[in-house]
Structures are given as structure tokens and as C-alpha cells.
């Protein structure tokens, strides 16, 4: 990635049992973001600040929740350099926290990525990888205790939509869309994020700083 952050590689991890909106929401946001406003700019990648792709443990069709079938662009073995890693959640995270290859891949990618993020129970995978050690984080509201059972040094922020403590973690499912816009705002400016939200008719309410959260933590 160049220093001016003009173009970055965004990898979205997918796996069997990944929650559809956990990965598809941020995929929509990152892949539709343009630094040039309006409709025409979305027809090409010319003003796209990020290239977005999916990565799965293996290069085979994955089955998301509800059986949506998605073919990953890359596997762990052949993924290109990753600047921004997004780890979504879903029921599939339960077996995946025990998958040594996945945890090792997350550790390896996070070590060189500019930013590592999670949606929903994707935080459990980051916790298992040791990435949330001693940090503040959030996750799906049904999984707060699961997170601290993996790593008791994590300070779980309850009832927020996302937390930025170096690693950016978001709450359940739809909260990943808000987090993605927040990442875009930090990297490309708030105007770009707001224009993209209008483009996809999303009622983005902006970041936590405006809403009295701690740091970037936005209230749910």
C-alpha cells in the first residue's frame, strides 16, 4: 500500500457458516466507495480507494448462513498482500476458533496489515489469535462472555456498535456496515463516506466521536 493510502487491498474472510450480512454489508460499502461522487464513478474502479476481495481457507465454494453459496476470490495459499483485513462472524466461527490454520493465517495477515477489523463473532477469531489481548473490543451481544472466555484480558464494551482500540471490532451483523463506513471516513474523509452512504441509501449516523462514545466507540 502506498503511504498516501490511495489504494488498499481489503480482504474479507469467508467460511462455511459465515453470516451473510456480516461480510456482504462491508463488501458493499468498501467496493462501492469512490473518491469521485455520483453514479458514473461507480461504473469503473478508477476512483475506488480500495480493491475488495474474499479469501477462504480453501479455494472452494463456501456456504454462508441460510445456504448462500459464495466462491472466494482467493484461498489462504494464494491471497495477495492484504492492507485491511475484515473477519466476519456467524455460526461458522464456533468450529473455526479451533482451526489452527485459520488462526495462524489471521495472525500472519494481521502482523503486516495496516488495519484488522471484525464484525460480530469474528472478534472471537481475533481473540483466539491473541490480537485483542489487553484491548477493548466488542462482539455480538449474545457472545460477550464467549469473548472473555477465550481471552480474559479483553475489556468487552457492551451495547456499542463498534470499538476502535487499534483493532476495530463491531457488534452484530448490521453494525459491520457502520464500522465499514467509519473505516472509509478515517481513510478517505467523512465526505467520501457520507456520499457513499447516500449512494447506497444507507442511514449512516456517523462515528462515535460525534455521539459521545469513548474514542470511536459508537453507541448501539
Amino acid at each position: 500500500m502506498t503511504d498516501d493510502l490511495k489504494y488498499w487491498n481489503t480482504a474479507i474472510l469467508i467460511f462455511d457458516g459465515v453470516e451473510v450480512l456480516d461480510f456482504a454489508g462491508p463488501y458493499e460499502v468498501f467496493s462501492r466507495t469512490r473518491t469521485v461522487p455520483d453514479f458514473e464513478s461507480r461504473r469503473s474502479e478508477d476512483s475506488a480507494p480500495s480493491r475488495v476481495f474474499t479469501v477462504a481457507p480453501e479455494r472452494r465454494e463456501i456456504r454462508a448462513t441460510g445456504d448462500l453459496r459464495v466462491m472466494p476470490h482467493f484461498s489462504f495459499a494464494d491471497a495477495p498482500a492484504i492492507d485491511l483485513l475484515l473477519v466476519p462472524g456467524g455460526f461458522g466461527t464456533r468450529p473455526l476458533v479451533e482451526d489452527a490454520a485459520t488462526i495462524a493465517w489471521i495472525q500472519r495477515v494481521a502482523a503486516s496489515a495496516q488495519l484488522t477489523t471484525s464484525v460480530c463473532t469474528g472478534a472471537a477469531l481475533l481473540a483466539k489469535a491473541g490480537l485483542l489481548n489487553g484491548k477493548r473490543a466488542t462482539t455480538y451481544f449474545g457472545s460477550y462472555d464467549w469473548l472473555t472466555s477465550i481471552d480474559p484480558t479483553i475489556t468487552v464494551e457492551r451495547g456499542v456498535r463498534f470499538v476502535d482500540d487499534g483493532i476495530v471490532s463491531s457488534a452484530g451483523v448490521s453494525a459491520g456496515i457502520d464500522m465499514a463506513f467509519e473505516v472509509v471516513a478515517k481513510r478517505c474523509g467523512r465526505e467520501v463516506a457520507e456520499e457513499t452512504a447516500r449512494y447506497i441509501k444507507y442511514r449512516w449516523e456517523g462515528g462515535g466521536e460525534r455521539r459521545g462514545g469513548r474514542g470511536l466507540a459508537a453507541k448501539a
Copy 2:
């Protein structure tokens, strides 16, 4: 479909250039809806009121906007009976309005479906199929004129999130999520829709009737 609407087949049309969130948002809503609340019910289909699947013109991998790769469950040739049809939008609708096979399929399915719906520029496909003739409808805010250029008898409702005039059409991208919840509320009751919205942490603001819209038309 049984008369009490306990279980219905929801088909989501996908095609090259379909907007990711247009189809993935409603897919998430319909496939995660359960008549029994909480987490455990989502682990099985036992209390799912709808079976959700994707249908594409042909049984091959499609490339959504941003190049997300999705494998359809069915093609036009082998799709099962469809009770609820959802036609999403995206840049891919521009060539697709000229595709006779797709328009004929939409006409055929809509003729026997209980409900036909569109998200974003999916309304253009419904218009081309003659399904919006003389009706009120909405679409993506950049495509209001396109809709009436296809069928001048359509009354386009501007600045609303969705319109129910027999055919249910929604505005751009994210508005499809609101429309999906409205359909769930009509079929399964508002409590089921609200519980599902909480489950996926979506800030659903409820239907247009509560918000002073005309009929079910909700303000954007």
C-alpha cells in the same frame, strides 16, 4: 404454499452486475427470520417461515457489483415453485431489461407468486414485464425517469423507502432490508420482524403506516 403462509419459497433473482446489498440484505432478513425467538432457533430451519434461494438465468457463477462471486441455487430452467419473488437492482439491470428470457421468466413467476417485490432498479425489470402498469412504485433515486420511460403509466413515488401497491417496490440498496422486514411483518406479524431485526442488530424503524406514509409507503 399452504394457505396459512406457514412456509413459503422465497426466490431472489441474481445476475451479473446485481448490487451486492440489494440481494444480500433481503437474503439475510428472510433466511434469518424465525417464528421462535433467540439464538438457538437460528441453528435449524424448524421455525423458519421461508425457504430462501437464489435463481439466475443460467446455472453458473454470477459476478455481482464489486466482483463478488455467487453461485445460484437454481436456474430459470430448474427453479422450484416460487411464492415470493424478489428482483434486486444494480448496473446489471441495464442490459437485463432487454433480455427477453429474463423478462418472460419474471412474468411467468409473478403470475403465480403470492407476492412480487423489487429493490432499487429491479423495478425496471418489473416495469418491462408490465407488472407495474398503472401502479404506484418506487426505485433507486437516480432512476425515477428510467422507470417511467419504460412504462409511462407508472406513478413514481419519490423520496420513499418502499411502496406497496400490490407489487412491493423499494428504493435503493439498503431500503431493500427495510422492505424485507415489512414483508416479514405482514406475513408473520410485527413481533417476529422486530425480533429478527434485533437478532441482526438492524435499526429497523418499522412500517410506513406508523410513519404517516400513504398506505405502506415509508418515507426515505
